[in-house]
């Protein structure tokens, strides 16, 4: 899922400096799963902000509320009765959730509280590893399930560069070479043919916001 990490408290304080009545909205989706922006983090951040405010002698009121998912506008409807009471909303959702919130309440300033970092996996309790950069053109099928866009420092599509160094990347001995791993995995599966075909470069120039339509809905939504 999407992985995020809370912003430093100073940055958050700066964002809300000019506002008196603040609503902190958590999200029960990905950011909750990665322990960045669920109900517990909302309560925690609010408590910390209140401590800071009493230390700095600032008067503000901060309330908390957590919705199911901020990336679906349906779940933001329940904020309607309360949203107008606040002069700013701070959101613990990912970048998508924050924008959806800002779109849903265009009259109210919305500030993000987390940095949306990656699409990743739960490596361990509280430790998450980036696995996917949402490039929009998945090549994992021929790279043995190892993503060259995420893992290779240069994002190469057709084998390693000259910097590959005994299994490591030229940027550091601590970073494994993605293509070395791809080669080994495909070799073990007897699939080396998969990387013999030259892959065309990614159409990076088309970097507009990507919307996807799931197949059964193509007719409904595509003009």
């Amino acid at each position: 899922m999407v992985k995020a990490k809370r912003k430093p408290i100073e940055e958050i304080k700066e964002a809300i400096a000019g506002y008196k009545n603040i609503l902190n909205v958590g999200c029960g989706g990905c950011v909750s799963v990665c322990l960045a922006g669920g109900q517990r983090e909302v309560n925690e951040l609010n408590a910390v902000l209140k401590l800071h405010m009493s230390k700095d002698n600032v008067q503000k009121s901060i309330d908390g509320y957590t919705v199911e998912r901020q990336c679906n506008v349906k779940f933001l409807d329940e904020l309607d009765p309360m949203a107008t009471k606040y002069d700013c909303i701070i959101s613990m959702a990912c970048g998508a959730g924050v924008q959806n919130m800002a779109e849903r309440f265009p009259g109210i300033p919305v500030f993000p509280l987390v940095n949306t970092v990656s699409i990743g996996i739960d490596r361990n309790l509280g430790m998450y590893e980036e696995k996917c950069r949402a490039c929009g053109h998945c090549v994992l099928g021929y790279t043995g399930g190892i993503c060259p866009v995420t893992r290779c420092s240069k994002g190469l599509f057709n084998g390693p560069c000259g910097g590959t160094n005994n299994g490591n990347c030229e940027i550091s001995n601590e970073v494994p070479c993605a293509w070395y791993d791809i080669y080994n995995r495909l070799k073990a599966q007897n699939r080396l043919d998969d990387i013999l075909k030259v892959q065309p470069p990614m159409e990076w120039q088309n970097q507009t916001p990507r919307t996807i339509i799931q197949e059964p809905y193509e007719n409904r939504y595509r003009a």
Partner: protein, 128 residues
């Protein structure tokens, strides 16, 4: 409560097979739940739905996997429909529930979802 069950269209053996994989954990978890309700506030849905007890993690756990376990998988479509509502409509599986005993409630809910799916019972987001 003592409604006559109409188990047509439900494969109880298949359900039992899934439950058996986690039998001990399920059994001990149900046993260890002291019905203390300290988990309630950790569920953001409970907090956002007027503290309705039906949203308590323990309630959801007892009335989904607890029902499947007690009936040894002998449930009908009506039971499964109720469980479906509990484990999908009232839980988003954010995995953040607190339990003083450390019961793994999310896994239990996920298990109930798996049982439902195996019987073709699941939410249809495209029809709602």
């Amino acid at each position: 409560m003592f409604r006559k069950k109409n188990t047509a269209g439900v494969d109880s053996d298949a359900i039992r097979e899934i439950l058996d994989e986690k039998k001990t954990k399920m059994k001990l978890s149900l046993k260890a739940c002291a019905h203390c309700t300290l988990c309630a506030e950790s569920c953001f849905l409970f907090m956002g739905r007027d503290k309705d007890p039906k949203y308590m993690p323990s309630y959801k756990f007892i009335n989904s996997i607890g029902v499947l376990y007690k009936n040894k998988g002998n449930v009908d479509k009506l039971d499964l429909g109720e469980i479906r509502d509990i484990v999908w409509e009232r839980c988003v599986l954010c995995t953040r529930c607190y339990c003083p005993m450390g019961i793994d409630i999310p896994e239990m809910i996920a298990l109930a979802r798996r049982v439902c799916r195996s019987q073709g019972v699941y939410p249809r987001y495209d029809q709602e």
